[in-house]
């Protein structure tokens, strides 16, 4: 039995090391962001909030944050109706070519973001569309769409179809049955998809990398270009704020919908 216990202890030890591995860089960012020195030394020699002030006074970061927020909000709001309609269509539809449509809807996740960004850049440039906001919006709608479809479809599949049928038997039109019965029941799924899509769009680098220009810069990309030239703790401060935001939203998502369902489908 001791061999078993030894195996068990080794396993637990490894698992704890992996937890530390996953969280260490995030914790280090937060610690460094309160540093009072201009170099990122460990452990910090003194504590202050000056780098938060520096980050909030950095015009590039503030403008980037605003751009990213507007972009993520617009992309989410535009992609959600399309996604919900598509999910309802998939739920009702009985076609032979359904797997092809499903594959089409997964393709924005499977094609690397970098590649879809470049593809959009090239095709839009050829069509004469050179404005960064327009091409960013299209690219980010592609980020959001598959997740709204996935969470909405997951909610629909848990729904008892007889509810809709009962409403219709009792005299509701199918339109009424959908808007009064089905839609309220799948709302949490739609909301989870929107929130998740918003986070992914806000954090995105790969799709946006080739679609931004000097005037329209998203927050992650302006942080990245800042990092390529300087390494002061104001990046840690802005990153800590982003981590705090994401962690709050993550906990909400986990309570609301379940993170595992979100990433792994049904």
């Amino acid at each position: 039995m001791t061999a078993d216990r030894l195996q068990h202890a080794c396993f637990s030890g490894l698992v704890w090391m992996l937890y530390v591995f996953l969280l260490a860089p995030l914790v280090c960012i937060i610690i460094v962001s309160f540093n009072s020195e201009a170099v990122q030394s460990f452990p910090p020699t003194g504590w202050s909030l000056r780098w938060y002030a520096a980050a909030l006074n950095n015009a590039g970061f503030v403008k980037g944050a605003l751009t990213s927020f507007l972009l993520a909000a617009a992309a989410t709001l535009l992609a959600t109706p399309l996604g919900v309609m598509a999910a309802v269509g998939l739920w009702n539809g009985r076609w032979r070519f359904k797997p092809i449509i499903e594959a089409l809807f997964v393709s924005p996740i499977i094609v690397p973001g970098l590649v879809s960004g470049i593809a959009l850049l090239v095709v839009l440039a050829s069509a004469g569309i050179r404005q960064a906001p327009a091409r960013l919006l299209i690219g980010h709608m592609l980020i959001v769409l598959p997740y709204v479809i996935r969470t909405t479809l997951a909610s629909l599949l848990q729904l008892d179809r007889s509810l809709q049928e009962a409403a219709e038997t009792l005299g509701a039109t199918s339109r009424q049955a959908f808007f009064k019965i089905v839609l309220p029941l799948i709302k949490p799924g739609i909301a989870a998809g929107m929130l998740f899509g918003f986070i992914l769009s806000f954090d995105d680098v790969n799709v946006s990398l080739f679609l931004v220009d000097a005037r329209t810069m998203t927050l992650p990309i302006s942080v990245m270009s800042y990092l390529q030239y300087s390494f002061d703790p104001s990046v840690a401060a802005i990153s800590s704020m982003m981590i705090a935001l994401t962690f709050t939203l993550t906990v909400v998502l986990e309570r609301w919908f379940g993170l595992k369902r979100l990433f792994a489908g049904r």
Binding site: Y19, L104, T173, F202, N206, L227, F247
Partner: protein, 286 residues
């Protein structure tokens, strides 16, 4: 009439969005890669040539970059597969009360921007970073070790980015296993390691294979981590692509690189599809 709006009409707008903004542009880029290279030229022309592909495949320099990209991605994938399996088993075995917390710890890094996570590793591995502070503080080394800007740094960063992605399909596969099966093995005298390696892991292998495919393909196309953490000579395929599209404006040759990147990732996905058959396919499409 039960369905005033036919299901096909509902699916149509999203189909058009994906087809027009993803599939069509991909085909366009592929066509572009066969145009003669003219830096600054961004219109598709009718002239066709394979000179761009020849330029890539005839040069040892580009082969080296492709080799390095594949090496970094394969190493990352192997490490993620080993550790991802361990974490997936931990999630699977955890009592329901602790599960939510573990899932948040393992999956929440996925929701933090890649730039932020890479920056975190710059703080940990830098000359004044956490690891060097510990090593110097305990007197193991006198001078800070050069940890950043190496291939190993890139691999550490990539493993951190992709580990949670590897865990997911494995957990999904584990959850399909009937708990009576490992229990029966235990009753019949198998130790925990035997149960894990001979019973549980083979049953979870479709998830593991799906994870390996996804992580390899994503690692091949990652840009932020190699760009920020790699050394000065650390060209990988994606940084080369960035250079062609943004710096030298040779979009035709850039399109060739995109085609090669896509082909390499899709090759990995394709091998999985045909090698491991329907069960893995079902997992991939989730």
């Amino acid at each position: 009439m039960r369905h005033p709006t036919p299901a096909a009409l509902l699916v149509l707008p999203a189909c058009i969005l994906v087809a027009a903004c993803l599939i069509l542009p991909l085909a366009f880029v592929l066509a572009f890669s066969f145009n003669p290279a003219r830096p600054g030229e961004i219109e598709l022309t009718g002239e066709l040539t394979i000179a761009n592909y020849w330029r890539f495949f005839a040069s040892p320099f580009y082969w080296k970059i492709l080799g390095k990209t594949v090496y970094l991605s394969a190493t990352t994938t192997a490490i993620c597969a080993a550790f991802g399996t361990v974490l997936a088993l931990a999630i699977w075995r955890a009592p329901a009360s602790r599960r939510g917390l573990i899932v948040i710890v393992v999956l929440s890094p996925l929701l933090v921007s890649i730039v932020t996570r890479t920056f975190g590793w710059m703080v940990v591995l830098g000359d004044n970073g956490l690891i060097n502070a510990i090593l110097i503080g305990t007197g193991i080394v006198g001078q800070p070790l050069q940890l950043m800007f190496t291939n190993s740094a890139v691999i550490v960063g990539l493993v951190h980015v992709f580990l949670p992605i590897m865990v997911l399909p494995i957990v999904t596969a584990l959850e399909r296993i009937d708990p009576a099966v490992p229990e029966a093995a235990g009753t019949l005298g198998a130790g925990p390691a035997t149960v894990a390696f001979r019973i549980v892991l083979p049953l979870a292998s479709p998830g593991l294979i799906a994870g390996i495919t996804i992580v390899f393909s994503l690692a091949m196309s990652s840009y932020v981590t190699p760009a920020l953490m790699g050394g000065p000579d650390s060209g990988v395929l994606t940084t080369l692509i960035y250079q062609q599209f943004v710096v030298t404006f040779n979009w035709q040759f850039g399109a060739v690189l995109v085609a090669i990147l896509l082909a390499t990732s899709l090759l990995a996905v394709g091998v999985t599809f045909f090698e491991f058959g329907r069960r893995s396919r079902a997992w991939m499409s989730r």
